[in-house]
């Protein structure tokens, strides 16, 4: 489903060059849930953002469903229709109601009629557990509710892949559970997911595979059990000791 080959992302600034992603190669199968962990600044977000073209990577290939993002002829908007993303800061559209947040891209990109888009939106709000907030503005919602709307918004496009960049890091602790529950349900339904998170409980429960990144590289790959019982690398051990 996702095939990353030797992906490098450089950031240039003020005479220095940061290798934010430094030769990452991995594959994600259809229906697989991959959790990416690693210390701050290790390039997790940058790698994730390369997958849906929010960052243009400097070298290598990312092939999504057979389409190579490095190919100049690839229409990135077509790819993005199939790759939903959920952000740490929710990034809901504050000037639109919850319902409009969910219908806008369906109508503009998928060219659905208002009626069809709203039916889809309401069904998804039902699914994430806040059907009654359809006509509210995002600012009136709690953080957990906002993030669930953001997930519903991405799902409204019926993507084949969902990317999550620390979806619970900006939430008050009591709201983390409700968002993770939605994500777990999604995983059970067979969605292909790449999740950057510090929620080790989530990783243990739903991840098929865990990637540990440091300094732009994938340092260790394994099942959650592997990581929690017998991590191999010293850096992994150090990191896990800090977060667990």
């Amino acid at each position: 489903m996702i095939k990353a080959k030797n992906v490098v992302k450089l950031f240039h600034g003020y005479g220095t060059t940061v290798r934010a992603v430094d030769g990452v190669s991995t594959e994600v199968e259809r229906g697989e849930v991959v959790v990416v962990i690693g210390p701050s600044g290790s390039g997790k977000s940058t790698f994730l953002r390369c997958i849906n073209g929010l960052e243009v990577f400097s070298e290598g290939h990312i092939i999504i469903d057979g389409v190579d993002l490095a190919d100049k002829k690839t229409n990135i908007n077509k790819v993005r229709m199939e790759v939903g993303m959920v952000f740490q800061q929710f990034n809901l559209f504050p000037h639109k109601t919850v319902l409009q947040n969910l219908t806008l891209a369906q109508r503009r990109v998928r060219k659905r009629s208002k009626k069809v888009a709203e039916e889809k939106a309401r069904a998804l709000l039902e699914k994430v557990g806040i059907p009654e907030k359809a006509d509210e503005y995002p600012s009136r919602l709690s953080g957990g509710q906002q993030q669930r709307v953001a997930i519903a918004r991405a799902l409204a496009m019926e993507p084949k892949i969902m990317l999550f960049d620390e979806p619970t890091s900006a939430l008050d602790p009591e709201m983390v559970g409700e968002v993770l529950d939605v994500m777990k349900q999604l995983a059970r339904e067979g969605m292909t997911m790449v999740v950057v998170t510090h929620e080790m409980g989530f990783a243990r429960e739903v991840a098929d595979r865990v990637l540990f990144m440091d300094e732009g590289k994938i340092v260790e790959v394994g099942t959650p059990e592997h990581f929690f019982t017998e991590p191999r690398e010293a850096r992994t051990k150090l990191f896990l000791k800090q977060v667990l």
Binding site: F93, A105, V109, R153
Partner: protein, 319 residues
């Protein structure tokens, strides 16, 4: 403790200061022995125009029919041509059977007309309105160009904004009229409106740029990650939010534009300011006229502020 209890002393202080300022001004004016002639001002808002009704040929008055306020005068020429003229009963100059020569006055019709102050105000308003529309369009384009990824487009916008902001509007108006106006054969109104629009557009561009950049990048990322194109993202996500943010500075810019429009009087466009100057040459009521002109500008600008205030409240629903 009640908030109103604490604010009234300050209200009184404010009133006292304003009264003292007014009294001080009044006292100073007294000393220079200025003859106030306020009674001369109203006629420049509205005046009663008396149009003399004249006989178009040599002839005689055959009949005068008075019907209340107006009267119908029937005139017959030497070659038996018949003409009727409507005049006001009060000012009739002729009597039945009287012989008249061509262009003699039969009577008057009077009518309320807009005086130069009102005409000037109207000119100022439509001039500013048209210039504002073009300034908004121009500013939007230049503002978007300033945040463009393309170096050339960005550069063009930058040159435009810097040239306009670095030179005085008065000079720009002169250039527009005497140089561009001559070369491209443009009317003074086109030059005036064009100069104002170009000038305000440069400032609007900066406001638009700042407004766009004030929207968190996460908004663009969210929209793009849903597959929306950059133009769609601009139209549906960025500009509506930016517009709400820039409404206050934008309205300030348009208020400035109304005031700056007074400069077009230098290329002989009879706006409010030019009307004021013309009235002064015939009345010498310098103080009164300038005070009235200022008050009229103030009226227009504060009306605009009110409209914007209302719009801001309407847009605040999603906060």
């Amino acid at each position: 403790m009640n908030a109103t209890e604490r604010i009234w002393p300050w209200k009184i202080l404010l009133a006292v200061i304003l009264i003292l300022l007014a009294a001080g001004t009044w006292g100073s004016v007294r000393q220079i022995d200025y003859q106030w002639r306020w009674y001369r001002v109203p006629q420049y808002f509205f005046y009663l125009a008396e149009d003399a009704q004249k006989i178009p040929f040599d002839g005689t008055v055959s009949k005068i029919e008075k019907a209340g306020e107006t009267a119908t005068v029937t005139l017959i020429s030497e070659s038996s041509e018949v003409v009727t003229v409507e005049v006001e009963t009060v000012g009739i100059k002729v009597s039945e059977g009287e012989e008249l020569f061509e262009d003699d006055t039969v009577g008057f019709i009077s009518e309320w007309r807009l005086g130069p102050l009102m005409k000037g105000l109207w000119t100022t308003i439509w001039l500013s309105a048209i210039a504002s529309v073009f300034a908004l369009i121009l500013g939007l384009i230049a503002g978007l160009a300033k945040v463009s990824k393309n170096y050339t487009i960005r550069g063009l916008a930058m040159v435009y904004v810097e040239c306009i902001r670095g030179t005085p509007l008065l000079v720009q108006i002169f250039i527009a009229y005497f140089f561009l106006g001559t070369v491209f054969d443009l009317s003074r109104n086109v030059c005036g409106i064009g100069a104002l629009a170009l000038f305000a557009g440069a400032y609007v561009a900066e406001i638009v740029r700042a407004g766009i950049q004030a929207i968190p990048p996460g908004q663009t990322e969210a929209a793009r990650s849903l597959g929306m194109t950059m133009p769609q993202t601009m139209m549906d996500i960025i500009l509506p939010q930016a517009f709400k943010k820039i409404l206050p500075p934008l309205s300030g810019q348009f208020i400035s534009l109304i005031k700056d429009s007074s400069l077009v009087s230098v290329i002989a466009i009879t706006d409010l300011t030019k009307s004021g100057r013309e009235i002064i040459t015939s009345t010498f009521a310098t103080f009164e006229v300038w005070l009235v002109v200022a008050a009229m500008y103030l009226l227009v600008t504060s009306l605009l502020s009110q409209v914007v205030f209302y719009m801001e409240r309407r847009l605040a629903v999603s906060d």
